[in-house]
């Protein structure tokens, strides 16, 4: 049970002030091998999920897109191609190591995408600015998800869309296999590939502590978004929520 000063860090309970630091340590540790691990963990499916998110975003040429917790920049790269030269994509992450990886990738791909280190709970952007805000595999690491969602809603234009791509509650008949995979195989792969079993243990635990599809939908509605709907991907291993600012 958490008090107002405590929060979850995987299955552990930590002080709210400590969570961001601990999450930062995890991502600092996995930053360089983050994409390799994602590919191994999801059998490459995370790329398909991200492409699907971009395809239902409704983003077109000239739009302004904010990529929160964008880390290695996969989504920013796809969005940059969609919005074209007249549009704008901003890549943000709270973690400098992850952001560094993303920024370098953007530069290597010849894309002019500004990379900005900032906290999603205190976004340094004006109200009603973006056509689309996306957070992929980042919301579950945020200490105050409600504050972060409210901030994302604030910076959206009226008619703008918030997309949340995140691990979610898997289809019940598959839950046992999924549990075995997450708690046995995932840390083992983390140990072998990234030499960091503990960080991957946290990733598995944080997925279980994250709100399920319906709860997240309600949280988005509470944050002031409307017409919230979600897509279950890979039998609910991942869900993509989409809501509008009206």
């Amino acid at each position: 049970m958490t008090t107002e000063h405590n929060t979850h860090f995987g299955y552990k309970t930590v002080a709210e002030s400590e969570k961001a630091k601990k999450v930062a340590e995890v991502f600092h540790s996995v930053a360089n091998k983050y994409d390799l691990m994602n590919d191994v963990m999801s059998a490459g499916m995370h790329r398909g999920w991200k492409r699907f998110a971009v395809s239902i975003s409704g983003v077109s040429k000239g739009d302004k897109v904010l990529d929160i917790a964008g880390g290695s920049g996969d989504l920013s790269r796809l969005f940059a191609q969609k919005v074209g030269a007249e549009g704008q994509v901003i890549l943000t992450d709270i973690n400098a190591s992850m952001l560094g990886v993303g920024r370098d990738r953007m530069l290597d791909a010849g894309l002019n995408v500004p990379a900005l280190q900032c906290d999603a709970e205190k976004l340094p952007f004006p109200d009603n600015y973006f056509d689309c805000v996306i957070v992929a595999f980042g919301l579950r690491n945020m200490t105050h998800k409600d504050l972060a969602l409210a901030e994302m809603q604030r910076v959206l234009k009226v008619g703008g869309r918030l997309l949340v791509l995140e691990f979610s509650k898997v289809w019940q008949p598959l839950s046992k296999i999924y549990d075995a995979y997450s708690f046995k195989l995932l840390p083992l792969m983390g140990k072998l590939l990234a030499k960091d079993a503990e960080s991957y243990q946290y990733l598995a635990e944080s997925i279980r502590m994250h709100p399920d599809q319906e709860t997240l939908k309600q949280m988005m509605l509470d944050a002031g978004l409307s017409k919230v709907d979600y897509y279950n991907l890979a039998a609910g291993v991942v869900a993509l929520h989409k809501g509008y600012k009206t």
Binding site: G48, S55, D131, K217, D229, A234
Partner: protein, 194 residues
Amino acid sequence: MLKSLSTKLLQHLAAQNAWSASVLKPYAGKSVSLDFVLFKTDLVILEDGTLVSAGETNVADATVHIPPSLLPRLLAKDETAKMQIRIDGDTELAATLAKVFAEMRWDYEEDLSKIVGDVPAYKIGEFARSSSQTIQQTAINLAEMLSEYWQEEKPTLAKKRHIEQFNHEVDILRADVDRLEKRLNKLNNTQILS
């Protein structure tokens, strides 16, 4: 998985029919449910005017009910079949989407050309078109032959002129009944007055 595939397919069609985006853009964010009784599918119009499958909890702005028996007639472009489609909710949205679907064309030769090259793709397309015409013509001939048999040799189907005659007689009967009814009313009123 299915939603992601159907979204890809719909967006591919939209890309081939670029005009459809400008028609659908004013309805961005709205969704239509296509109810085929045996299965149902919800589509959402995105801000760029493309169509995608809706999510798990979508609430449709319009519902189009299409009984399965209508599908072959709709595919055969039977105009009278369209009259039997029932629409609930935003009828303008549903009508616009129906118009877009009716005019959308899948340029399969273009897709095929990326795999087998331009010339073979054109030849395959030509063969498909001529085969489809032959099949269509054969189907029409067969239907005409059967209808003639059932009308002339073993009359189980009514001829058009007989139906028209019957309808005409029903109209005359209806008019007669109306006249009789008025006459009875008149007699009734006269009786009350006297």
